[in-house]
Each structure stands twice: as C-alpha cells, then as structure tokens.
C-alpha cells in the first residue's frame, strides 16, 4: 500500500513541476464551462422551461460537469499506450508493483487535484455570476451520486485501458482516442442532459456505457428521478463495468503475449 501512496505523491509533484501549464489547463476548464453556461443562459432568457428542464436544473447540470469531470474523466492512462510503444512497459513489469494498481494510483492523484481545483473554481464562479444553482441536501441522492460517480470512474478507466491496449498491435493509438473523446463529449452528456434527445435515440443511449459517465450521476444529483430509473441505470452500468473489466484483463493478457519491448 505504501508504494502506491508514494506513486500518488510523485504524481502530485509532477503536476507542480509545470505550474504554468497546469494553471493554463484550469483556465481551459473554466472557459469550457462558461461557453456552455452562456449558451443555456441565453436560451432561458426567452423560455422558462426547455426540454422539461428549468433554468436552475440545466445551469446546475452544466456547472457540476466540471466537478464530475474531475472525478470521472481525469486520467493518465493515455500514457500506457506510450509506455507500450516505447518499450518503457518492460521497466514497470519487472518492478514489484501491480501495473493496473500503478495506473489507478496515477489516476487517483489526477482525480484528487482536478476535483479540488474544480471545487475552488465552481465556488468562485458561483460567487461571481451568482447563477440559480441547486445544492442537493438529500443524503440518499448525494450517496447515490457518489456511488454512481465511482462506477463511472471505473468505467472510464477500463475503456481508457482498452484504448491504450491497442498499442500492443498498432502504433496508431491517438486516432481511436480522438474519436473516443468526441463520443464522450456528445454521448456522455457534456453539452446537454441526454434525456432531451428524441425518445427513440435516448432508448439506445440508455444501453451505452457513455451515458453512465456524466449524465447518469448528474441526473441523480439533481434528484428529480424515479427509483426505477436509478436501479435500471445502476444495473446497466455495473454490468458494463464487470464486462469491461473482464475484457480489459483478457485483452491485456493477449497483448502481453505479443509484446516485444521495441525500442528498449
């Protein structure tokens, strides 16, 4: 356990080695929130309710995406592909650490830093622009939000590890990741709550893992849902995470068999 704590501490140090870069990254996060926030604010200047959502619900959804992105989407697993392609993986495989836990530790450090920064930024944004934000105080919905966020983090880790495993077979790892980022942006609900799309399309989205990365936890945070929605979502997301865990291990083992440590 101690060695993983040291890994987390080292990951923190890496961040603070390039402070300006980190500061600029956070500026980017705020800019993205402001774009979405302004778009929806403009829409609600003319309409009281849009797609069944009122202004406070949508603006809360948009603002809290920042926090949830810190918890769920912050990851360093893209490095795994580089480690495979450059042969650096060999150095890590012979060390007395579990490679998946090694990556989970790096991810945890990333998530802690991004989430803490998000809280500070959101507090500042709320103070400056004073939007009508819903602060959930029902312990059941808050607990469900935390639980589904953890499942979402696991899902995101598994998908990213699978994408990085492509490096065992191909040098081309950025292109699939680029497509994945775009799919996450639109199909996970980064721009809008997914249930505003036509019902037929939403019924398909319900069965995809992307839905459970951002939309599902935030919908729970807003609280305006039924128990059936919660249970159905939990079952689908847990089934996906179990299946993807199995697939991740299977693909990793297959990959290791053909790994040649090229470049080392």
């Amino acid at each position: 356990m101690k060695k993983y704590l040291i890994l987390i501490r080292n990951s923190f140090s890496e961040y603070f080695a390039y402070r300006l870069n980190f500061f600029l990254w956070r500026v980017r996060v705020i800019a993205i929130i402001l774009i979405n926030f302004s778009l929806w604010q403009a829409i609600f200047r003319q309409n009281k309710v849009v797609f069944g959502y009122d202004e406070s619900q949508i603006l809360t959804y948009i603002i809290f995406i920042s926090i949830l992105s810190g918890i769920v989407l912050a990851t360093r697993t893209e490095r795994v592909a580089t480690e495979i392609n450059m042969g650096i993986l060999s150095n890590l495989l012979i060390k007395p650490i579990h490679y998946f836990f090694y990556n989970l530790s790096r991810d945890l450090a990333d998530k802690v830093i991004n989430t803490c920064c998000s809280f500070i930024e959101i507090a500042l944004l709320i103070t400056v622009i004073n939007p009508p934000v819903i602060l959930q105080n029902n312990p059941f919905w808050l607990l469900s939000f935390i639980m589904t966020s953890i499942v979402a983090s696991l899902l995101y880790f598994e998908i990213n590890m699978l994408l990085s495993s492509v490096a065992f077979w191909s040098k081309e790892t950025w292109a699939p990741r680029f497509i994945f980022f775009i799919l996450v942006n639109f199909l996970a609900g980064m721009y809008f709550p997914l249930d505003i799309v036509p019902q037929g399309l939403y019924r398909i989205l319900e069965y995809l893992p992307f839905t459970y990365l951002i939309f599902f936890p935030l919908k729970i945070y807003l609280g305006n849902i039924t128990i059936v929605f919660l249970i159905k979502g939990l079952i689908i997301s847990v089934v996906w995470s179990v299946f993807l865990w199995w697939l991740m291990i299977y693909v990793w083992k297959k990959g290791l068999k053909i790994y040649t440590s090229e470049g080392q």
Partner: protein
Amino acid sequence: MSRYFRVWLILSSASFQSFFVSKFGAALFLLGKILRFIFFALFLIYLLQKTKVLAGYDLWQVILFYLTFNFIDSLTQMLFREVYRFRQYIISGNFDLILIKPVNSLFRSLFGWTDLLDFITLVPFIFIIGFVINKIPGITLIGVLFYILLVANALVIATSFHIMVLSLAILTTEIDHAIMIYRDFTGMGKIPVGIYSEPLRSFITFIIPVGIMMSFPVEKLLGRLTVESMVWAFAISLFLFSGSILFWRYSIRCYTSASN
C-alpha cells in the same frame, strides 16, 4: 514572395505525404472531425427547432455563424499546424536548426506543417456556406464581399495569436495548453457572441477578439454591423498583428538555445 510560396508548397507536399504513412489513422482523425461537426450542428438544429430563435437569430442564421466558425477554424489549423509541434523544437534545441536556415524563422515556425485533413474539410464548408447564405433572405453582393473581407481579417487575427503562442513557447517552454486556450476561447464563436452576457461579451469582442473573428463577418452579411464596428475590427487586427511581430522579435532576442 513567390520564393516563400514555393517553400510553402514544398513543406505542404512533405506534410501531405506523411498523412499517407498511416492512412487508417488519418481516416479516423478525419472521421472524428466530421463527427464533431455533425454532432454540434444536430444539437443546434434540434435546439432551434424547440426555441425558434437564439439571441434574435433564426435557425439558418445560427447555422451560418457555426459554419463560418468552422471554416475559419479549419483554415487556421490547416495553415498553422506547425505551431502545435513548436514546443518540441524549443525543448530539444532543434530550433537552432531552423534559425540557421536561409528561410525566415517565423515563416518556417508558422507554416512548417500543413494539415491535409483540415484542407479536405474546407471545400465542403465553402459549398455548405453558399447553400445556407442562399436560404437567408436579403443578402446582397456587397454584403458577401464584406463577409469575405472580414473572414480575411479573422485570419490576420488568428495569425497574430499563433505568433504570440510561438513567442510564449520561446520565453517559457510551458505552452502545451496556450494554443488550446486560444482554441477554447475561439470556440465561443461557434454561436453568435451576442448571446454572452457582459462582461464576458466585451472580453471576447475586444480583449480576445473572438467576436471580431467569428461573428463580425456574419453580422455584416446580415446587415447588423455598423461601419464604425468594421473600422474597429480592422484597426484591432492591425494592432494585434504589429504587437505579435514585436513580441516575436523580443522572444527571439531572449532565446538562449539552452537545450542544445
């Protein structure tokens, strides 16, 4: 001038060839760009079907703002893709090799890599913009000419920002996100800047002139831009361009080739 055009053609030809080294990867990147464009366009269409207007603009007008943004963004990325790789030249010390070549170092750093994928998307954008303009009533030929002029003006502003990012790379070496911040802020121009509240609207019109770059061409085309605003637009782009050249010269003087 013609010598530099020939150099650009040679550099572009080399960069185009590199895309064919990994055809599958290039195809995936192109697919990603198309998906990103379509997804947001569908979102805007779906939204406008419900709300009818957005900040006083109807569906076709909002689509024109979005298309103009995409055209300027793709053109900029096509021309200045080298800027995204510039930090590596600085931290590896390879920038020295650019400085000793008989080509202007700023020209080489800006135009060293032409993005084929963005080049491919430009032609369809021109046709779609033409189609959408045809759908909007009251468009005049003078309006179209001013639209083209203001798009060219946007390109001057984009060039200035890319020069500033290059200069920043020389001075700090920590610019991974600087160019992406520029892109995030210009991304605010996907929709008319009129929808943003103050003080954000003034900030993205005059401090980081996203409004001048992305919204002014369409506003002029729709007859909603005053002559005074147009004069301001050209003055600001001239000021930014001159400032960026001065900043570049200053950064070159500070370059120490420490990594080499």
